[in-house]
Amino acid sequence: MRDPREALEAARRAAAQAGDDGVDQAPWSLEHTPITMRQLVEWAIIEPDESLVYSTRRFGRPITALKRLLIHILYQYLGQISAQQSRFNAHLIARVLQLEGRVRALEEAVSASSEPPASSTSRPGDRST
């Protein structure tokens, strides 16, 4: 076979014959799934995880150890910073929740006002309710 397009067609035919072999395939195109409020709340409070300290260098172990030591030494300062950030995050989430509640209430009010009142189906002169 010399033509790449021919190869692709052959692969497609073979795939059609093979079926999916029970393979659980990830989506070919990724779509963004909105983050749930629960996830946001979980992320809001920062808890530094020492295991996330790493180095991608070839001989990175001593560098990783040094970084961890620095974190230990600066523990008090890092705690202050993360507390400050966590407080901001928590207030922001509270504000988002509050706004969501207001939007929901407004949507309900709008849909209630756009619904035709029960009497509108009555004919003029019909006084029954």
């Binding site: 190869a7 692709l8 692969a11 073979a14 795939a15 393979v23 990830a26 070919w28 779509e31 991608t56």
Partner: protein, 347 residues
């Protein structure tokens, strides 16, 4: 002529940084002066080669080249109505790929797109490293945008060497990030491995985040235990060895602004199987097998089997890859860049 270059971020193994350094080498060759600056610099970047942006004290008529690759504070002030400037877009990954795993990166991408749109309306000339990028710039700004491809310094690469002899090896080179879709590469490889049990997969790239690396390692362990190798910190020599020992280069990225590893694969004579997404199709041209939107991992697995096993097809793809590299000839791209800058300087 004096041209200062500005980068949004610089890193020791960053493609955009390498581009800026390659441009600087050309400028020096042409007898042009100027310095290079970055808004952010990772460790390992030589401060003499790329200085902090704060050190830039540009005269209003100074000629500037902005390599745009992501949000950086203060660029608007620097480039607002600066007619003597060229913006080259190296592309920004759409934020949707990062919201789930790395929201901060997603925020940066969103900010970057907004900033790029604003900058593209104020700078002198626009260019993208691919037609895909240039088109994005056109849509953002309503102005024309040229295509100045990546300067591919083929002379710096060692010779391709003999065809690989070891077990069938699938290779992908690129940052371990959601939009590069290494998850699909692992799945397709696992399906291929059912047909070829001794096959192995090598994924070379720095992880976007430790969490993403762990997720990929878990997937690899589950679907193809012991057959997938992750390499995050490789020397150039080791990377070239990986290309030499690969039977096929598999790129299933959903978004790429250019993808230099495709050209490297062509150079090393590695047949390319890639998904036709973003700029990938225009870089690969007719030199690889391009998968469509309706294909899936079974099609990829079958294709890997065919490409690895068919010697005639392999030879054809190698020859086409070699021809394709002519379109990215260094001298040709350098001339295009020079013309673009000279035209701007003359106005």
């Amino acid at each position: 002529m004096k041209v200062s270059q500005v980068l949004c971020a610089a890193g020791p193994v960053d493609a955009v940084t390498n581009q800026a350094l390659a441009c600087r080498a050309l400028f020096e060759q042409w007898g042009w002066g100027g310095k290079d600056y970055a808004a952010l610099s990772a460790s390992g970047v030589h401060r003499r080669a790329i200085r902090p942006l704060q050190a830039l004290n540009a005269a209003p008529d100074e000629f500037m080249l902005l390599h745009y690759s992501g949000y950086a504070r203060g660029l608007e002030r620097l480039f607002d109505s600066r007619r003597q400037s060229v913006l080259i877009s190296h592309n920004i990954t759409p934020a949707r790929f990062f919201w789930d795993n790395d929201p901060l990166a997603a925020v940066r991408c969103e900010l970057g797109r907004e900033q790029l749109a604003e900058l593209s309306r104020g700078v002198g000339t626009l260019a993208g490293v691919s037609a895909y990028n240039a088109n994005e710039l056109r849509l953002m700004s309503g102005r024309t945008a040229a295509v100045i491809p990546v300067l591919f310094e083929r002379d710096r690469l060692p010779p391709a060497g003999d065809p690989p002899t070891g077990p069938p090896t699938v290779l992908f080179v690129g940052r371990l990030a959601p939009h590069k879709r290494q998850d699909l590469v692992i799945q397709a490889f696992a399906a291929y491995r059912q047909r070829q049990p001794d096959a192995r997969l090598v994924l070379v790239g720095v992880p976007q985040s430790p969490a993403h690396l762990r997720a990929l390692e878990r997937l690899a362990q589950e679907l193809a235990p012991g057959a997938v190798k992750f390499e995050s910190a490789v020397t150039p020599a080791r990377l070239w060895d990986y290309y030499r020992s690969a039977h096929v280069f598999l790129c299933l990225s959903e978004h790429e602004g250019f993808c230099i590893p495709l050209l490297e694969a062509f150079h090393f004579g590695v047949p390319v199987v890639a998904r036709e997404a973003a700029a990938i199709g225009e870089v690969v041209g007719d030199a690889g097998v391009l998968l469509g939107d309706d294909d899936g991992i079974i099609e990829v697995a079958e294709l890997l089997r065919i490409v690895v096993g068919d010697t005639e097809l392999r030879a054809e793809l190698r020859a086409r890859g070699e021809r394709r590299l002519a379109a990215f000839d260094h001298a040709r791209t350098a001339e295009k860049l020079r013309k673009q800058l000279m035209t701007l300087a003359a106005t």
